[in-house]
């Protein structure tokens, strides 16, 4: 079997890209499977500037082809983005095409390479960017979409519905994502699988990061991911500052990720920008628990990283995906509002027995439900079925 993956970027960037890359690496190791991943030379999703050199590289048995970006995120994008965010029903197809063009990353070389490929199936992830929206329709009879979608205005665009309906099949991260897509567009009858994603084994870590951030002797909780409004980070910071002023807890909140909003470290909150994977694992292991405040998640790999690191999680109860992971795993708690947040944080910080019990549940669940053996088996079965 010969399969291609198409993602906007390759490397330790972006949840969906990371998850797909990790899967591609593992599938490439199976005898008889030939796997290539097409990506642009960009690493930043806010500019799509060419950071890497174009050409072919090998990572184990996986071949990665990178192509130059012809056009990245433009000034026109912000206005189009605002228009779609304000309501999708009045946005015509031409404007939608325009939006996806300016959303980027546009790469004609990537499009040509995918069209010329003789792969049996081509997997596109995630749905929201030009390589999926513009290139998948060119190979519709072989295109399988990995939407990595959550409930957002872009998902409701008619062009997205057309893309999904034309495709050969769909791969979902969670049942909640499958339900969301089936409710939004008539794709319930298309071949599909709920795969879920695996995580790379935790690295040994870089414990010096704790000293660098002044956390060697201080308890803290952690939040990993893009620091932005839509991910609920500002809401979390508000909650956290209120909690600190009300309860006087010693714990600090450590935000790991690149901020797209103005936020500075202070007594309550520490920002750990642009840290590498090893430092992230060290921070995870030494935290009391992880908070994911986002209500917009299609899978949330970071929960599984937290469980692998041996800590429980606290999630936004309005996110169907993360709440259902936590409920199935019994590996953490959730909150609907500030009072529940305050009580859940107090329970997780003060009650070590509960913390350990929830962490152990989460760890077991992650190994059982989202171990790589299961994911790769289900993926290859799905490929055989669809191809």
């Amino acid at each position: 079997m010969k399969i291609d993956f198409v993602t906007p970027r390759y490397g330790p960037v972006g949840g969906a890209e990371n998850a797909v890359s990790a899967l591609a690496k593992r599938v490439a190791e199976i005898p008889g499977w030939e796997v290539r991943l097409h990506a642009t030379c960009a690493t930043s999703s806010s500019s799509w500037v060419n950071d890497e050199s174009p050409g072919e590289s090998h990572f184990g048995s996986l071949t990665v082809s990178r192509y130059l970006v012809d056009s990245g995120r433009t000034d026109t994008w912000a206005a189009l983005d605002h228009r779609i965010q304000s309501g999708t029903s009045s946005v015509d197809a031409v404007t939608q095409d325009d939006f996806f063009f300016h959303q980027g990353p546009v790469s004609k070389d990537l499009a040509n390479a995918v069209q010329d490929s003789d792969a049996d199936l081509v997997f596109f992830a995630p749905y929201l960017f030009w390589p999926t929206m513009a290139v998948a329709p060119l190979v519709a009879d072989r295109a399988v979409i990995v939407p990595a979608a959550h409930d957002e205005p872009f998902l409701k665009l008619s062009r997205v519905g057309e893309l999904l309906q034309q495709s050969r099949g769909l791969v979902y991260g969670s049942r909640a994502e499958q339900r969301l897509l089936q409710r939004t567009h008539p794709v319930g009858h298309l071949p599909s699988t709920v795969l879920g994603w695996g995580i790379e084994p935790p690295s040994d870590g870089a414990p010096e990061i704790l000293a660098e951030l002044g956390l060697s002797n201080r308890p803290y909780v952690i939040c990993v991911g893009r620091i932005e409004h839509a991910k609920g980070t500002l809401g979390l910071v508000d909650f956290w500052r209120t909690l600190r002023s009300r309860s006087g807890t010693d714990h600090r909140l450590v935000l790991v990720g690149s901020p797209s909003i103005e936020i500075e470290s202070d007594e309550d909150v520490i920002i750990a920008r642009e840290i590498d994977d090893e430092a992230k694992w060290s921070l995870l292991r030494s935290a009391d628990f992880l908070i994911n405040p986002s209500a917009l998640e299609s899978f949330s790999l970071v929960l599984f990283e937290a469980w692998a690191a041996g800590i429980p999680v606290l999630v936004n109860a309005y996110c169907e995906t993360t709440r259902s992971h936590v409920n199935e795993a019994q590996g953490g708690l959730w909150y609907h509002n500030y009072p529940e947040f305050e009580l859940a944080v107090q329970r997780l910080t003060d009650d070590e027995a509960t913390r350990n019990r929830l962490a152990a549940n989460g760890q077991m669940f992650a190994e059982r439900a989202y171990g790589w053996d299961r994911i790769v088996r289900r993926f290859t079965e799905f490929c055989d079925h669809v191809a």
């Binding site: 089936q182 319930g188 009858h189 709920v194 508000d238 209500a295 509002n337 500030y338 009072p339 079925h385």
Partner: protein, 324 residues
């Protein structure tokens, strides 16, 4: 109690404790109203509408919370002089602010009132619907408990061959649901039928690819009309109420293309009565429908080649047909 059961009950206990205590503290005024409102503003901004469990109720609460405007302007300041000046201005203008904010609060009350009435009407409709359902039928929970004694159909291999032949000329998607075991699906897929399954339990999802764990009615509700090239209706004819059977049938017809190949697998009423105790047989009276009834329903839709095949042990019947 096993470890996993004890973990599950402990987890539920902790969640329930937190929710109850949060509720208690909120209603006892532990948190200043203005504080909760300002925290809620950013938190709720990114919550998708679809994920609000009690949408109308919560929206009304949010409007009510937002409609209350506190006339006491904060006076905190970096300097004591600043604080003092702000305090004096607040005292001097309080009558004005109070007048304005009272009008805004009154407007909020007028807005939420019709919404509350609407919410009350909706709840009343729900109650009446539930009462109506009770009059027609034994409720779903009791039914699934009583029908648990019925095993799934016993001769999939026998039907597999006939169904493979029946769907042999169908190239598009064929749905089988509600799926209770995977052997029939495997047989049909091996025979080249482009079939997928909908199962109400998740065990089958792990066993075979392209099976989704979903309520069949929800699944059919989301499908576009005329998107199926065929269907096999199973499970629901054995366990569902008459209304559910007819609803599933109507939805499947709506979602099927003209000329679709269709099939219904149904337990023989005598087998059904024999396998259930007298309690279930009494309370679930009237189910399942006879194969003749399915033939009649299909014939009424102008289906052609309506055929009834009985399993060799007479426990189940297969009804096949082609839609016009």
């Amino acid at each position: 109690m096993s470890d996993s059961q004890s973990d599950a009950s402990y987890f539920k206990e902790v969640v329930a404790e937190i929710e109850a205590e949060a509720q208690r503290r909120s209603s006892s005024g532990d948190y200043p109203r203005a504080l909760l409102r300002s925290l809620d503003e950013e938190f709720r901004r990114w919550v998708p509408d679809a994920s609000l469990e009690n949408g109308v109720e919560e929206t009304i609460r949010a409007i009510e919370a937002a409609a209350y405007v506190d006339p006491a302007v904060p006076v905190s300041s970096r300097t004591p002089v600043g604080r003092c000046v702000k305090w004096v201005v607040r005292r001097l203008t309080y009558f004005y602010h109070r007048h304005v904010t009272q009008q805004i609060t009154a407007l909020g009350i007028h807005i939420t009132r019709p919404l509350r009435l609407l919410d009350a009407s909706l709840k009343s409709v729900h109650r009446r619907l539930a009462a109506l359902e009770d009059r027609f039928d034994v409720d779903a929970a009791a039914r699934s408990e009583l029908a648990a004694g019925i095993s799934t159909f016993s001769s999939p291999e026998e039907f597999g061959e006939i169904l493979s032949e029946h769907f042999s000329k169908v190239s598009g998607r064929v749905l089988i649901g509600d799926l209770h075991e995977v052997q029939l699906l495997r047989t049909l897929r091996d025979a080249g039928v482009n079939i997928y399954g909908v199962a109400s339990t998740d065990a089958l999802v792990e066993e075979v690819v392209d099976v989704r764990q979903e309520n069949l009615f929800d699944h059919l509700g989301d499908l576009q009309n005329e998107s199926l090239d065929g269907f096999v209706l199973s499970g629901i004819p054995d366990r569902g109420s008459v209304n559910e059977q007819l609803r599933a049938f109507r939805l499947l017809l709506l979602k099927s293309k003209p000329g679709a190949a269709v099939a219904v697998i149904v337990v023989h009423p005598e087998t059904w009565a024999a396998r259930l105790g007298p309690v279930a047989a009494d309370l679930l009276h009237g189910r399942p429908m006879h194969a003749e009834t399915w033939s009649y329903l299909l014939a009424r839709e102008d289906a052609s080649q309506v055929t009834v095949i009985e399993a060799s042990d007479s426990s189940y019947c297969l009804v096949t047909a082609n839609l016009p």
